[in-house]
């Protein structure tokens, strides 16, 4: 839930900065270790975004497989959620490189002129306003 609240805050900031009247979709990249359940995030976001410019926006969620750096031998390796064992030295003393992050990557929305948001052609169709 706190992730959804923070997402709404950042979406509002991006929308305000760029004169966006409505956010239609946004991209989120999350590390697999975060254990984000897409349905739970959708539900939390729905609740957190009521009455904001991001209400009803679609979440394009991409889950990133975690990678770690071994503090013992320095090897970089891919980890599974139930095993953080370094294939180089067989110790589990891993520092995450990716896998814990949640990044807002893109925001797609309607500009003040009725721009439909998808691409340049959208702007042309809405042109002249």
């Amino acid at each position: 839930m706190s992730i959804a609240v923070e997402l709404v805050r950042q979406l509002e900031a991006v929308a305000a900065e760029n004169g966006m009247v409505r956010v239609e979709a946004f991209g989120v990249t999350a590390g697999a270790l975060r254990g984000i359940v897409p349905e739970a995030l959708d539900l939390a976001f729905e609740a957190a975004s009521v009455g904001t410019r991001a209400e009803g926006a679609r979440i394009d969620l991409e889950i990133v497989q975690p990678r770690a750096h071994c503090r013992r031998c320095g090897m970089e390796f891919a980890i599974a959620i139930d095993s953080f064992l370094c294939p180089g030295c067989n110790h589990a003393d891993a520092e995450m490189i990716v896998g814990n992050e949640i990044i807002l990557t893109t925001v797609t929305g309607q500009g003040p002129e009725g721009d439909d948001g998808e691409d340049q052609r959208g702007q042309e169709r809405a042109g002249g306003q």
């Binding site: 839930m1 706190s2 992730i3 923070e6 997402l7 805050r9 950042q10 991006v14 760029n18 966006m20 989120v28 270790l33 975060r34 254990g35 503090r71 959620i81 139930d82 095993s83 953080f84 064992l85 110790h91 589990a92 003393d93 891993a94 814990n100 992050e101 949640i102 990044i103 807002l104 990557t105 893109t106 925001v107 797609t108 929305g109 309607q110 500009g111 721009d115 948001g117 998808e118 691409d119 702007q123």
Partner: protein, 218 residues
């Protein structure tokens, strides 16, 4: 219009966490984020730890719960400053809540700040509060498969406390399963077998705390 952002959603929390750590560093305090399921014995551990550290090493506790001030009342009987945070449904503490709690504490003569997180094995793992070390706790009645089920809580831990060890023999509990699972998740943190009730493991735990503080809060 499509805007490329690439902004961490955790940025606001992480920035406050860094500020908390800076504040604690400046005061020479070691802060610990204590996490576990509800009922593992976090509050009992602190009730035993604070007197054991002695008056020369004064502690404060920031305790998070969904509701009630019961833990703060328990800890308030000790010679320690205690601040209760009611998250009102929130399943973990945030760095901002800890910042607010720190503002209400007199940091001048403290050696340790224990942050007793909300009892939950999932969400607290993902949020930096500004602590210097993380303690993950589990207890015998919870079953011996906790590490395998909640690896993300144990992976970043700097110390692991296995509490209620006096119940081994009463309950079917295989400690070798815990050690097997930890061998795939975290081989750097010490595991302290503890019974807050009998006092077993308490001196090992306070030795670890003193050594960790001696090694520098950062």
């Amino acid at each position: 219009m499509k805007i490329n952002v690439v902004k961490s959603v955790l940025e606001a929390n992480d920035a406050v966490a860094q500020a908390n750590r800076g504040r604690l560093d400046a005061a020479g305090i070691l802060a610990l984020n204590v996490t576990s399921a509800p009922g593992s014995g976090k509050t009992s551990l602190l009730e035993a730890t604070i007197p054991a550290l002695g008056e020369a090493l004064a502690s404060a506790v920031i305790v998070g719960d969904l509701q009630t001030t019961r833990d703060a009342e328990r800890l308030g009987r000790l010679a320690a400053q205690v601040t209760q945070i009611n998250t009102e449904g929130g399943c973990h503490l945030s760095a901002a809540q800890v910042a607010e709690a720190l503002a209400g504490l007199d940091l001048a003569d403290l050696a340790f700040v224990f942050i007793e997180n909300v009892g939950n094995m999932v969400c607290p793992a993902g949020f930096d509060l500004g602590e210097h070390a993380r303690v993950a706790m589990l207890s015998v009645p919870e079953g011996d498969d906790k590490v395998a089920k909640y690896p993300t809580l144990f992976q970043p831990a700097d110390a692991i406390v296995l509490n209620k060890i006096d119940l081994i023999g009463v309950l079917d509990y295989d400690t070798s399963r815990v050690y097997d699972d930890l061998s795939k998740v975290n081989t750097s943190a010490p595991v302290i077998e503890m019974s807050v009730k009998t006092g077993q493991g308490l001196s090992e735990w306070t030795d670890w705390l003193r050594a960790r503080r001696g090694a520098g809060a950062g």
